[in-house]
Amino acid sequence: MANSDVPTLEVRNLQTHFFTRAGVVKAVDDVSFAVRPGEILGLVGESGSGKTVTGFSILGLVDEPGRVVDGEMLYKGENLVNASDERMRQLRGNNIAMIFQDPMMTLNPVLRIDTQMIEAIQAHENVSRAEAWERSRAALQQVGIPAAEERLKSYPHQFSGGMRQRVAIAIALLNKPDLIVADEPTTALDVTIQGQILYEVQKLCEETGTAMIWITHDLSVVAGLADEICVMYAGRVVEHGSVDAVLDNPTHPYTHGLINSVPSRNKRGQPLSQIPGMTPSLLNLPPGCPFKTRCPRVGPDCEVTPEITHPVVGRDVRCHYPVPAGEDAARAGATASPEVTA
């Protein structure tokens, strides 16, 4: 993993907004992060937090009425925001690949796997059909599909869900991309199949130095897989740091609540600690911190949108009242907020 200081992708202050008839939806609002070669970044959030739109923005897949309105996305120093459609087409599938939650989004149901894979290679490189076929076979083998030669002749519907996702991953790997954006690729799969895929992905990043952005709502998958974690809420990154640090000592009350609502963290049979309420609509989001209505530590400063602070070294947090290390968010909030209001 040479020159791992240069990030494969650096996203700076990305803003992706959707201009709907009902108003402007700020799906991605001032998001910044970076991934280096061989690194896996976990992008975690609940539905509607903007994690998928962030992934789509990187690949230039945001459709009308959505638009990247501000910010930079530097792929090895090249700003993707200004890239032409032609340039994006060159990069997509070649240097930057995406794996979707539903493999049928990647696969064409009426074409055989070999047709689709060879097409993906020949779209970017001038190689013979035989060579492209051989590379397709190798890619299928790499993701653990038995009898790859036979399976190349199959249609997508002849594969099981787990196998189909492997084919989608194999297609993403075909042109040896530097960056893979994986959008919930294992959410629909069984745990044993998920384990198999995570194993392949981990091996791949270690061996080839591919950088990966793993978008998921499942904190436990990120815990086992990623190096860094970005927690998103209502279009913003609320906490960003190394996986160990964030999961062991979350400082944002939302991260805190999210970790505590995972069943395995709680004593069996005890009530789960829950975050009250639900994710706010991004349409006409009220000013201030979007989490304030659900937050146990809310105080008067929360009427102002929090900027990124660094309460702990190496951590970006958007909160006026971050949780000190080792403290219980809810309990601290109960005592802290009256103090602040007083």
């Binding site: 869900g161 196998m163 044993t192 395995s264």
Partner: protein
């Protein structure tokens, strides 16, 4: 009620609220006309039979929460539907409070059907999009005479309050709610007929973590309030561990292991359970080396002979390829179907 005393499954105190004895459910796809004609000329085609549930014996005690775990295609949902009376069992007996479902009179059967209710995975596809919440929740109690037309509004309001929804939402349609709220409507609908037994089929799988926690808490709170019994079907072992008293693990239509939740999670006996538990991602394991189980669940159309798990099992022997292991009690309250337990 002496029918259940000679129970073959894990004995529980008193008469179990639910008992399954050698229950099987087969789905048969009969030959079409072309295949039948082909058979006349000696093609030798046979009906396609899927053994979705294969000889399952289990009990659920009153007030117990039993987690039913397995990969997709293992028959856990089918078993849940057999219990809820959606599908009749192909063979075997289902006893509810010691009485056979199959021999009940029409009136009794209707009572049982009311006492066993089901909550589905996707509330959007299990709620009629064209009905208002008050009709979704209020229809069944109205039809079954639990409430009259005048009392219905109050009754629905009470049900909605029970599941933590604002009663003023009663005139809304399902699409006007969020996923978590819709699931609560599904729960309110099930509770509206005063059930004793709830079959929850992946009821929290489609929800976000924070919403999932809210719904799981609601399940636990309702259990205490109304002394409910749950059959909680899920592929999420974390959720099952949190909620259940006992866990039943299924693989390809058969029960492979049954034990109290603590026992399963501390010392799983069956190699499949062990493999399944090893795969569960946990918050506390960081940067782990994933060591996957080989292969995937075979097709139930053509299951492997002997122990269904042998092609993927690291300990498989010649015996496992030939002989089907039976579910045996290996310790009090612990049942496992594995030849390895028969000594070296």
């Amino acid at each position: 009620m002496s029918a259940a005393t000679d129970s073959a499954a894990a004995p529980t105190a008193e008469t179990p609220i639910l008992e399954l004895r050698n229950v099987s459910k087969r789905f048969v796809k009969p030959l079409d006309a072309a295949a039948k004609i082909a058979n006349v000329f000696g093609a030798g085609l046979k009906d396609e039979i899927v053994h979705a549930v294969d000889d399952v014996t289990m009990t659920v005690a009153d007030g117990e929460v039993v987690g039913l775990v397995g990969e997709s295609g293992c028959g856990k949902s089918t078993l849940g539907r057999v219990v809820a009376g959606v599908h009749p069992a192909t063979s075997g007996t289902v006893l509810f409070r010691g009485r056979k479902l199959s021999t009940q009179s029409a009136a009794e059967a209707r009572d049982t059907a009311l006492k066993v209710q089901m909550i589905f995975q996707d509330p959007m596809s299990s709620l009629n999009p064209r009905l208002r919440v008050q009709d979704i929740v209020g229809e069944a109690p109205r039809v079954h005479g639990l409430v009259d037309a005048k009392g219905m509004e109050d009754y629905v309001a009470e049900m909605l309050t029970r599941v933590g929804l604002d009663p003023s939402y009663a005139r809304r349609y399902p699409h006007q709610f969020s996923g978590g709220q819709r699931q609560r409507i599904g729960i309110a609908r099930a509770l509206a007929v005063n059930p004793d037994f709830l079959v929850c089929d992946e009821s929290v799988a489609a929800l976000d973590v924070s919403i999932q926690a809210q719904v799981l808490n609601l399940f636990m709170q309702l259990r205490e309030q109304f002394n409910l019994t749950y059959l909680f079907i899920s592929h999420d072992l974390g959720v099952v561990e949190h909620l259940s008293d006992r866990v039943v693990i299924m693989y390809l239509g058969r029960v492979v292991e049954t034990a109290r939740t603590e026992d399963i999670f501390t010392s799983a006996n069956h190699p499949y359970t062990q493999a399944l538990l090893a795969e569960v991602p946990r918050l506390d394991t960081r940067k782990r080396k994933f060591v996957p189980v080989k292969g995937e669940i075979p097709s139930p159309l053509n299951p492997p002979p002997g122990c269904h798990f042998h092609p993927r099992c690291p300990h498989a022997t010649e015996r496992c390829r030939v002989e089907q292991p039976l579910l045996k009690e290996i310790a009090p309250g612990r049942w496992s179907a594995c030849h390895l337990n028969d000594g070296a």
